[in-house]
Amino acid sequence: MNFGVVVFPGSNCDHDCVHLLRDVLGQAVREVWHKETSLDGLDAVILPGGFSYGDYLRTGAIARFSPVMGAVNQFAHEGGLVLGICNGFQILLEAGLLPGAMLRNQTLTFICKDVHVRVENAGTPFTGRCESGQVLKLPIAHADGNYYTDPVTLAALQANAQIVFRYCTPDGKVTPEANPNGSLDNIAGIRNAEGNVLGLMPHPERCAEEVLGTDDGRLILLSMLDALKQSKVQPAVVR
């Protein structure tokens, strides 16, 4: 499959994504500079973590106006798979491709540690390799991961199974103590209503090889590969 990894000024997880896709999973990868305006030929696009434009103003607020975002928007609206990781998630929120916004962590600190998340919806193109309720151990590294949205939107997210990952204890209980940043309803990752755009704060690309301590992150990328292969057989399913 052909993956695109968008590179903004200040992205710093782009190489991790490229390494995982190219060296670990054996896929074709194109690094897409933020000034590019075409995603032609790509099967899926990843917005990686980092500090795009120094996170000036708000996280993702300036990156969303990068030239490439017009193409990402179109790609998403045509049903292409888009994965936003950490800063990529923040950019998708600012761009309106996912609902809600990020507030500063309730602790006011930058948090860099492994957390546990529960897979709330295993029926997405990003979680097909997981079981519903499965607990994944993934690292987070952010200062602004305190997800917020209004009560009406939250109810819609819950009703449409758009909450894909929630912070939990190692044995899968969703508790306030397991919530590292104060995010609403322990939200760690959500998808759009159509199901082809996912944003999450944890970094699957940093934990996709056993040598890195956990390879749970690999499940998310393998799920995407499965979904893309299936869509090649039945193009109507995803694209």
Binding site: R58, G100, L103, Q106, Y148
Partner: protein
């Protein structure tokens, strides 16, 4: 025309920075302080003499970029 723009988190949205500052002020003995809200302040010059037009333009800037209206509110003053 000069614009002075203020952006803060909406009332009702927890402002952890404001809380931390409130606690620090209390520690310093300012115990009557309540509801500290932290925000951003922008100053900019507009090459525009018509106040009504400037107002439309600044409002548009706030909506599109300077504030995220899901979590923030804004207000501004214009002066020549």
């Amino acid at each position: 025309m000069k614009a002075k723009i203020h952006v803060t988190l909406k009332q009702g949205i927890l402002d952890p920075q404001g809380k931390a500052i409130e606690q620090a002020l209390a520690t310093l003995g300012y115990t009557s302080v309540r509801n500290v809200r932290v925000g951003k302040y922008f100053e900019l010059d507009l090459n525009e003499k018509d106040k009504a037009k400037a107002e439309v333009e600044v409002k548009s800037m706030c909506e599109k970029l300077l504030a995220n209206t899901i979590i923030e509110e804004y207000w501004f003053e214009l002066s020549s």
